[in-house]
Symmetry: C2
Subunit: 352 residues, 2 copies
């Protein structure tokens, strides 16, 4: 008798495929689950008459999400919190609490852990969040930080990924691709240092790119601006895995297509110049790079007037019907199909 | 000029010392935080008129908390959920939701992940919990499971660690030390297998001990019983790190001492016999062993009548004033000081 044990490598499915696959049987039974897996946050009814609760979780692993060769521990703690509160903002919510689990190998000292917590504490201050629970344990190898963030959102203002409709405008905050170029710069210098340990790293005074990679911020200010302008996004997602991945999520969940315009995509001049210098296609920086923590959202056309003067918001296209696919009009006037590549932690050498 | 960089090894502080140390500056600012770090769960006001929310988080790491040589992945998933819902019950609450983060090395297949999730799914069913969020990523080495559990508790019935008073009765559910003995048995056979790979493992039909280690249950039934009997524990904690550690937490938080009686501590005959056989002090099994997931709680003397006939609850002593310390009267009539040893993941070869 022959027993064939099925084996499927995780890289074949990728991160999103894997989560979809593993959680397919987990239909929520509690009627207080308004939104389960499949958005930036889960949305819960807690018995509060006006607000829902939003919950998100994330795990960062050494050697995959961060490289301690060039990531100061304090920055790492800060960024770990930012990545999670960004998911709360992506629901149009306000972060309130985090819990933190850390697994560390014995090579770390208490002082190293203090640095990580100092960074988390700074981010908590910045975003008005309380650290309410934690677990710390040892790991066989490397550092792991898992954070769960909890927030609150007005019931009438939740922005799901699924709310966009054809002809609505696609907006993005800030600029894209800078964190990715910051990473390329750090990786380049790491490589040089490995081959020539006596050569001093040359980060070319690229403060903007490095800050975007090492100390990103979540867009609290944008959520406050939308509140002030009385604009409720019809759909929203944070840009953590690259624009192509995020716009694909929005389109899939909203059952829409999208039409983007390359010339409208906000890219910082430092990002552009460094990309050209390093022989990287600038489009690939924002399409497939990650960790921008900007917000990608859609608005009703009637809200255009309210936001058109905002220099920190770019209107980069509009939603279409699903049969039109997800496309970008290049600067040269060509229509390019956007394939969600994004960032897949299970593939080696990612992002490309 | 000399720069001395301070280095303190994490093992010196231990897990609880480390968390206390790292979170000393994190006083909660949001008035909706009723209880922050320092109990089985954080307790939050969500705007629900009658109930608080309770939140707990945990991380399990391969090689530290579990050994895949003898832990089936499905059992591991089950146990990971149990460990977290147990913390919710320890607040006298009802678990509702979990989020799960998993970091896995590429050596695992999708089918292996499916097994873990099957186990989690079973536990979710058993405890009436919905899995509402998750993150899956790769790790450089080994498997990491971080779970956050969210539950609900009536505002008038929260059981903190800090509520015990002198002369109240100390109770514990079920029996203690069995999970530890199950672990010893598995470790013994692993060792033999390593030295003599042709010898078949002999687990001696110790179903009870093995089940307590590999597929523990959280005490949902006990919380329901207390509800039925209209008993609100004055303080409660779950027994995950050994009785000495848990009673020390209760005493410290409640500013009390405690007097336990060895003859009253519930220990299963299988546990006792295997301990004797393996030349391990049975007292050490329940004092320093862990993972029993029983509930240790205190009650007002007036509630004694309501619980005295419950065969699954043992009254093992009473709280005293703090100057009397934490002591146990041995079967031989000697007063023994209890030092919290419990389980410290940062110390090698733990539990002893």
């Amino acid at each position: 008798m022959e027993n064939k044990i099925p084996t499927t490598s995780i890289a074949q499915l990728g991160e999103f495929g894997l989560i979809d696959h593993l959680t397919a049987n987990f239909a929520a039974k509690n009627p207080n689950v308004i939104q389960s897996i499949g958005d930036d946050c889960a949305v819960l009814e807690t018995g509060n008459p006006t607000h829902y609760q939003v919950v998100t979780t994330d795990i960062l692993t050494e050697g995959i999400h961060f490289d301690l060769t060039y990531t100061p521990l304090k920055h790492l703690g800060y960024k770990a919190v930012v990545a999670n509160v960004s998911d709360i903002y992506a629901m149009n919510g306000t972060p309130q609490y985090i819990t933190v689990s850390v697994a560390i190998s014995s090579k770390y000292t208490v002082e190293a852990m203090e640095e990580i917590y100092k960074g988390m504490y700074l981010a908590c201050e910045r975003y008005g969040v309380d650290l309410i629970g934690g677990d710390t344990t040892s790991s066989l190898k490397g550092l792991y930080i898992s954070i769960t963030a909890i927030g609150s959102v007005e019931k009438t203002k939740v922005a799901y990924r699924s709310g966009a409709k054809a002809n609505q405008l696609i907006c993005v905050s800030g600029d894209l691709g800078a964190a990715f170029m910051g990473l390329q710069l750090l990786e380049r210098e790491k490589q040089i240092f490995r081959e020539h340990p006596n050569v001093q790293p040359d980060l070319e005074n690229q403060h903007y790119l490095l800050a975007r990679q090492l100390k990103p911020e979540a867009r609290k200010d944008l959520i406050e601006l939308l509140q002030l302008k009385e604009v409720v996004p019809t759909a929203m997602i944070d840009v953590s895995d690259g624009l192509s991945s995020e716009i694909t999520h929005l389109c899939k969940k909203s059952n829409c297509g999208a039409q983007l315009y390359e010339e409208k995509i906000p890219i910082h001049s430092d990002t552009y110049e460094m990309a050209v210098k390093m022989n990287i296609d600038p489009v690939s920086c924002y399409m497939n790079g990650g960790e921008d923590y900007e917000l990608l959202f859609t608005i009703d056309q009637k809200d255009y007037e309210k936001l058109k003067e905002e220099s920190d918001i770019s209107i980069i296209g509009h939603m279409t019907t699903p049969d039109q696919g997800i496309r970008m009009m290049s600067k040269g006037g060509q229509l390019i199909d956007i394939r969600a590549k994004g960032w897949n932690s299970f593939e080696p050498n990612n992002p490309e």
